[in-house]
Symmetry: C2
Subunit: 462 residues, 2 copies
């Protein structure tokens, strides 16, 4: 319960124009990009839109004093309900904190506020020939705070790693309003526990990330794209494995299964041979065209060892765009196949990719559902899309039962519930299966240490 | 106080041959490879040498019940006193846990027990053309458990990162004897908090690391070594910076200052031009000799832009060995210059390397001490070696005052107290300066959560 007195204090801190409380305004902060249905239960009591760390610290101190739930939020691009304020209270929206504080070219690091969009970090660095690789699908509107909070991945992870691989230091406001700085610009740093990596991926449950120091790398000078069509999914995966082993590590290696390809073919009126079981889109990058040609030749050779049906090496930017259009258009193409679609995110040991896809096919058959499978095959991160019509009686139950079995399948091959979307609300019922009782207890101990009153993003993760 | 009854129980668990309690035996477990002087205060009451995780869990449960301090230990190669049992109790020595559990070639991962030596991991993988890059100076005798516990670095960190970059998952026995597994073989994994990285570098204070899943990469096919002699330290650093920016990332970039070079020249009877202010030893690796030649040419060109005095590219394995002999012989060469030597480990933003070296020179002048400086210039990790004669009255005080100022210098340029050695006992008095009160509080909260009785490696870190 947020009293008028508390509201007054909060307005004093951030300015009354940055506090929303009408039901219409607050409703806009009750949902995200996940499949969590909209609900009046998820509407925050107050939306607070601070512009500085000090304001956040002051708001947290009040929330702590009065035990008010606080749910941090970037641009709500999350896929698991992470920023949905399921227990009401304050939605703490960081989208005004958009300062790029410093680009340190000599140390190849950038310091930004949490509300800066990922694409803006990328572009700002690219102008100086520096490269911030993490590229979650939402990168054009997701924020760095959200990306760090969820440890976002993306297509380039196979070569360049995920967000956590680039986070050097953080400024974090803790539950009680105290401010801490973790890590820094020293590349090697073993002073104290690695709180930087503890906060990264903690989904807003341990503290509010307000600033990040991000590592950059030199921008690759040239890039190209290849498309490999395989009659056999296993051989597609074998090709990717051998590419990685050979040292010709692609900057991206995206795999689409037959259902995904058919969806794209229908949507974009393309002619794709129905005997093709898997299409792999590979991005290569390097220092020179000669370097690219070598990589392409090596990949071509490997793919031929594994009976590739067709290898296309883009000869122009137009061809690059054509190839990527298939992968980039996939989500809407799949979306167009059925009234509803539940997109999931599991991650398995790279080796288990084909087995997992086969297990998912069996689950689809069992429940008589269409499940399109695509994903970042280079790192074992699979996105199964369950196509459905939730207006049909019993369909929702069936879909959830299928997704449950998909999670079981991932765990059965040594994988995990989420590669890059986080746990949030949607995967919460499954986390105990993944981590076991002592694993969950360890998470709870950490949570209890940082947030003894349980006010930070309550109702998430476990 | 460990009663006879408790000792009996512990003997039952690990076998009486694996419990040491004579004062002579226990004395051997009271020191490590740091400069912490030997002391009767640091002798454990009992040395326990388990061979399985279950034995460790059972021992921890007893220790927890009776509030007995437990200090985990690998091969005591640590440089900051991390395994010294400053509060007595049990020295838990893991050197019998030497099983390589699995080399998973397809997923490029190896699972090992904590007591496996780093060199054995390297060699086991190398046979299959797989590469475990972390190479702390102690790698021929240090253990994986110790390396993970301290987040060990090494020379190759500039290109390949430190130990934490290779830890995919851990088995950890917590203070109360419960066993948890963190992470796994899925490359992307955002299920729950990143406990893997929290335990990595926690110096045995949060749990006993018993197993690790380590990521591997393909072994580079060829390697070569270059030696660059610079009349100017700044230009040596500028060369390294430009190499990194140019995409020609060396596998190692080791810098030695004039004092270090003179020490080696004297020790190995080499003729080194006294006008040389810095020597940089660069390792390059790649897929082909042509690739190496290109890298070498690029580095040569860059070094010439920055007025290098001499560039030597090894033309044979003998020449490689000759060049590395200078760097590898450095520690003993410096050691031979004075009766005592205190080797430190600070880490600064890469850019601040030359400034920090100059600050250290001023400190040396102020205290009238000889301080040799060398380090991993590619990642800003500096090892100043204070040469001294502790038998001289007042010398110890002077040395410690100088080291204090070296830490202050590191912090003043945005650096940190330790790049790869950890905090342990020796840097403990300084950590509050580095992390601030709220930073230390955050560490204490985590410690309290995992080890409420404070039995795990007490007296360390802060």
């Amino acid at each position: 319960m947020i009293t008028e007195e508390i509201k007054l204090k909060v307005r004093d801190i951030v300015g009354s124009e940055n506090v929303l409380e009408s039901s219409v305004d607050c409703f806009g902060y009750s949902y995200d990009s996940s499949f969590v249905p909209m609900s009046a239960d998820n509407v925050p009591d107050l939306v607070v839109i601070p512009s500085t760390t000090e304001e956040i610290a002051a708001v947290m101190a009040i929330a702590h004093e009065h035990s008010i739930p606080v749910t941090p939020r970037g641009t709500a691009s999350g896929r698991t309900g992470g920023c949905i304020p399921v227990q009401g209270g304050i939605s703490l929206a960081l989208h005004r904190m958009t300062k790029i504080i410093e680009l340190d070219e000599r140390n190849m690091m950038i310091t930004v506020e949490a509300g800066v969009r990922t694409v803006d970090v990328y572009n700002f660095c690219a102008e100086k020939d520096l490269f911030f690789p993490p590229d979650p699908a939402s990168w054009k509107y997701s924020t760095i705070g959200g990306n760090v909070g969820e440890n976002a991945g993306g297509m380039r992870a196979v070569k360049y790693g995920v967000t956590s691989n680039y986070v050097m230091g953080l400024e974090v406001v803790l539950a009680d309003g105290s401010i801490i700085n973790t890590g820094g610009k020293a590349i090697k740093n073993v002073t104290g526990y690695n709180l930087t990596q503890l906060f990264t991926g903690s989904e807003g449950t341990l503290g509010v990330i307000t600033k990040a120091i991000l590592r950059l790398i030199p921008m690759p000078k040239v890039r190209n794209t290849m498309q490999l069509m395989f009659p056999s999914l296993d051989n597609a995966c074998n090709t990717i494995h051998k590419m990685l082993m050979s040292g010709a590590v692609p900057a991206a290696a995206e795999l689409m299964d037959r259902i995904s390809l058919q969806a794209v073919a229908r949507h974009r009126k393309l002619d794709i041979n129905p005997s093709i079981e898997a299409c792999v889109v590979v991005e290569i990058d390097g220092e020179s065209n000669e370097d690219l040609q070598k990589q392409a030749a090596k990949i071509d050779m490997i793919a031929n060892e594994f009976e590739v049906a067709e290898v296309r090496i883009a000869a122009s930017q137009q061809e690059v765009d054509e190839i990527w259009a298939i992968r980039r258009g996939l989500s809407s193409a799949i979306g167009a196949m059925a009234p509803n679609r539940l997109g999931e995110d599991i991650s398995v040991p790279r080796d288990a990719f084909p087995k997992t896809v086969r297990l998912i096919r069996k689950i689809a058959e069992k429940y008589n559902l269409t499940i399109a499978v695509y994903g970042h095959a280079g790192d074992g991160n699979i996105h199964p899309s369950v196509l459905c019509d939730l207006s049909k009686p019993g369909e929702e139950h069936k879909v959830h039962a299928a997704v449950d079995e998909i999670f079981d399948a991932a765990l059965s091959v040594g994988g995990t519930l989420s590669g890059e979307h986080g746990i949030g609300i949607t995967k919460r019922p499954h986390i105990a299966k993944a981590l076991g009782e002592s694993g969950i207890n360890a998470l709870k101990m950490v949570k209890q240490a940082f947030d003894p009153k349980g006010i930070l993003n309550p109702g998430k993760v476990w």
